[in-house]
């Protein structure tokens, strides 16, 4: 969540609750909305690392609120995050490990593993189909995220097919 908060603060200083609302507005249902406690914990760490600073703003008949703003070091960290290429998909995932290690265990049959995994991926795809249907057509961010997840699943399935062909 750190880079998200830095990015929002790069736009304008804000207090914790405003950041929570801004995150919800930006991502819609496409990102699980963090609770306010998580946000304050993250802000505390960012402050300790010198990436943000807080000022107390007095409020009449309420406790002071802290408004956070980005420091120069925070700006730099944010730029680094944006500029850095993003990690590609992990191929050496747990399923791959099972597939490699299956013959050594003497119990798991590779074809059975692949078949089970295919069914599992397809049931995830069914969930994504249902989710896409339920998602507000105007929520572009959410729909693009669903589409991305679908394309990843398609690639996983194509790869399973290759495994099945070559290992049979």
């Amino acid at each position: 969540m750190r880079p998200f908060l830095l990015a929002l603060l790069a736009k304008e200083p804000a207090h914790g609750y405003e950041l929570k609302q801004a995150l919800e507005q930006t991502f819609g249902s496409a990102y699980p909305s963090p609770n306010i406690g998580q946000i304050y914990v993250t802000l505390g760490r960012l402050e300790k690392d010198g990436l943000v600073r807080a000022v107390d703003v007095e409020q009449s008949n309420r406790p002071n609120k802290k408004v956070y703003y980005l420091t120069a070091a925070g700006r730099e960290a944010l730029d680094d995050w944006v500029d850095e290429p993003t990690e590609g998909p992990r191929v050496r995932d747990e399923f791959f490990m099972k597939l490699v290690l299956a013959p050594m265990t003497g119990i798991a049959d590779r074809m059975a593993l692949i078949n089970r995994q295919r069914r599992h991926y397809l049931s995830l795809m069914r969930d994504l189909n249902e989710l896409a249907e339920r998602t507000d057509p105007d929520n572009q961010v959410a729909l693009l995220l669903i589409e991305g997840a679908m394309l990843h699943l398609q690639a996983d399935l194509d790869w399973l097919e290759r495994c099945q062909e070559d290992l049979s």
Binding site: R119, L124, N129, A142, I146, S168
Partner: protein, 248 residues
């Protein structure tokens, strides 16, 4: 008595002859499809998917084994008896569309319903509904050659569904579609399936296969997996984040 399966095959085999060399394409397939089921057939290219669905629709003859449709033996039928059976019971979407070139899109879609005995009004209403659902309402008067590949493919699907067939057979029906058009096809398939349509469909597209009740995987002409899609471990609560998280 129980309703018989819509499809039942017994040790179904197809061996092509390629210049005197036998090419086994389907090697002993036992497949049962119950009324209302949606089956996705998957598998690498050359694994026999097209050959299998062509045999199920009587478009290719079997080498040995049996095919039963709605409890009636079908593999022993001659060509004209098959044509009659198809007209009555089967909608087929070919991988390469097979639309009638000198007829409009509207006529292509209405023809099977008319041949099956629907009134012109019924046929027209059904055609308008299907073309509308597939985003093709404004293409009704066009000739197939004027359409892009993806449009022709959707017309082929509308035609196959026009007379509400007992069985829909489809060979890669979204193979030529971009993702928006695929979404229309997914919606329509989901809808007719909920209305009780039995569907057997060959696909590489995981979004399409994700609609199915059951997936049959072919490899080298044999079924290597046949089973229902499991219920998700966790129902998504409605946020995309849940599903994405569940994948990660």
């Amino acid at each position: 008595m129980d309703t018989p399966p819509v499809i039942s095959t017994v040790n179904l085999v197809k061996i092509y002859q390629d210049g005197g060399v036998p090419v086994p394409a389907v090697r002993g397939v036992d497949l049962r499809v119950e009324p209302g089921e949606f089956i996705a057939i998957m598998g690498p290219s050359g694994s026999g998917k097209s050959t299998l669905v062509h045999m199920l629709g009587g478009l290719d003859t079997r080498t040995s084994g049996e095919i039963w449709l709605d409890g009636e033996r079908a593999d022993t039928l001659g060509e004209s008896a098959w044509a009659l059976l198809r007209r009555r019971k089967v909608g087929f979407v070919f991988q390469f569309f097979n639309l009638v070139a000198n007829m409009t899109v509207a006529d292509n879609v209405e023809l099977p319903a008319l041949l099956a005995g629907a009134s012109p009004r019924e046929a027209r209403e059904r055609r308008e509904q299907l073309l509308g659902a597939l985003g093709l309402a404004d293409r009704a008067g066009a000739a197939p050659a004027q359409l892009a590949g993806g449009e022709q493919q959707r017309v082929a699907l509308a035609r196959a569904l026009a007379n509400r067939p007992r069985l829909l057979l489809a060979d890669e029906p979204t193979g030529n579609l971009d993702s928006r058009n695929t979404r229309d096809v997914l919606k329509l398939l989901g809808q007719v399936h909920r209305d009780g349509q039995t569907i057997v469909l060959v696909t590489h597209d995981a979004r399409v296969a994700g609609l199915a009740d059951r997936v049959v995987s072919l490899l080298d002409g044999q079924i290597v997996d046949d089973g229902a899609l499991p219920a998700s471990r966790r129902r998504p609560r409605g946020g995309v984040g849940d599903v994405v998280e569940l994948r990660g």
